[in-house]
């Protein structure tokens, strides 16, 4: 379970729980939950679902136990997101979230939440040093 769920409003947390349950039972997200997703998160909901369809989210793990998420964006660029708080190096996060305070997250972070709820996150092991490079943003994309 993602620790950063406590950073979301209760309605969003409940929505992810509902999506998780529905997907476990039917392997799809029902229309009413898709509508709710769009209502809560706006335009980035559909963009995030596209990223989920494209298997864009990978959970990196190193031998120390440290984890991070990497999301392949629409342009093919890799974005590193943290497991316990909201941050994404993408321009949308910098503009919409940080500068204009118009939402708690970007499509990449939302894609992480959705992949976790649907249990479709890819898994990859990296060395401790590679993990440090990824977390600090010094790794090559």
């Amino acid at each position: 379970m993602l620790i950063m769920r406590s950073l979301l409003p209760a309605v969003a947390e409940q929505l992810f729980r509902d999506i998780q349950k529905a997907y476990q039972e039917t392997s799809q997200i029902p229309d009413d939950l898709l509508i709710a997703l769009k209502f809560v998160f706006g335009p980035c909901a559909l963009q995030a679902l596209n990223l989920v369809d494209q298997h864009s989210v990978t959970c990196l793990s190193s031998s120390s136990g440290r984890k991070a998420f990497q999301v392949i964006g629409g342009s093919g660029r890799l974005y590193t997101c943290f497991v316990s708080c909201h941050y994404c190096p993408c321009p949308a996060f910098a503009y919409t979230v940080l500068r204009r305070n118009e939402g708690p997250l970007c499509k990449h972070i939302l894609a992480v939440y959705l992949c976790q709820a649907m249990a479709v996150t890819q898994e990859e092991s990296v060395s401790d040093q590679q993990m440090s490079a990824v977390l600090s943003g010094t790794a090559l994309p």
Binding site: G65, Y87, S132, S136
Partner: protein, 268 residues
């Protein structure tokens, strides 16, 4: 084990001044941002590091741009349990740039930093030095650094609890000096510190140090008198807890600095 700032404030409170059993910082708050003049912030950070290492016996990682040549004499007088052994628990690192700081914080999970025990306190002195300050700083860099610090503290908490389930979480304290002069009482200011806005997203508590400009300090025979205000960050405040059931938090303190440099906290 008490929270670090609670420990510092209580340890350096006059014994005659202990009133109600108030907490300083809610137990759920793991990150605090110290706002104020650089020199006083550094003193409080050093006090926190030394208290954590000597009184609580935990490991501390202290990041700063400028080297700390030696501990202030006043600090050595304040902390009677200070010893070379306890000082060894504090690791001082001096990354010069934001990139170096990011790399060092990002590598805290590596085995050489978590053995024999992981740090329980991460301190970063003068964030503005790394982030470029109020007017020239980049918000995305501020968010990256803050998020990395918080995520690292969360990971170290996990490791601490795996090794000992009763361990306290890993705490994070950083100092930041805003170039925007805002009035505390009203919070109104003509300019906004955009970097501070970003930092507030990630740090749960704000501890503002404001120097007393009246004659109160001189009247009391003090070198300096500081007002210490504690507040929860507006964005990350826990909205799910009913405010009536939260433990009482002492929100206003004073920091008294005598002519010989000794420091004492007092509830306002």
């Amino acid at each position: 084990m008490t929270d670090i700032l609670t420990g510092v404030f209580r340890t350096f409170t006059s014994k005659t001044d202990v009133k109600k059993d108030l907490t300083v910082v809610p137990a759920s708050a793991c990150s605090a941002l110290l706002l104020g003049d650089s020199s006083i912030s550094r003193s409080v950070l050093l006090l926190s590091a030394v208290t954590a290492a000597s009184e609580l016996g935990v490991r501390v990682v202290f990041f700063a741009q400028t080297q700390i040549q030696s501990l202030p004499v006043s600090l050595k007088k304040c902390v009677p349990s200070l010893s070379p052994e306890s000082l060894k628990k504090i690791k001082f690192s001096y990354p010069r740039t934001l990139e170096e700081l990011l790399q060092q914080v990002a590598s805290l999970h590596e085995s050489q930093n978590t053995s024999p025990t992981p740090p329980s306190l991460i301190i970063v002195d003068r964030l503005e030095g790394y982030l470029g300050g109020t007017h020239s700083g980049d918000k995305s860099s501020a968010a990256h650094l803050s998020a990395l610090l918080c995520d690292s503290a969360a990971f170290l908490t996990q490791i601490l609890k795996e090794r000992s389930p009763s361990s306290a979480p890993c705490r994070l304290i950083a100092s930041y000096r805003s170039e925007v002069d805002s009035d505390y009482a009203g919070g109104e200011s003509s300019a906004t510190d955009h970097i501070l806005d970003v930092l507030d997203r990630y740090f749960q508590m704000r501890c503002t140090l404001d120097r007393d400009r009246s004659y109160e300090a001189a009247a009391a025979g003090l070198q300096e008198l500081w007002h210490v205000y504690l507040s929860a960050s507006s964005i990350t405040e826990d909205c799910t807890t009913d405010s009536e059931t939260r433990p009482a938090v002492a929100k206003e303190w004073q920091l008294l600095i005598s002519a010989d440099g000794s420091m004492e906290f007092k509830m306002a």
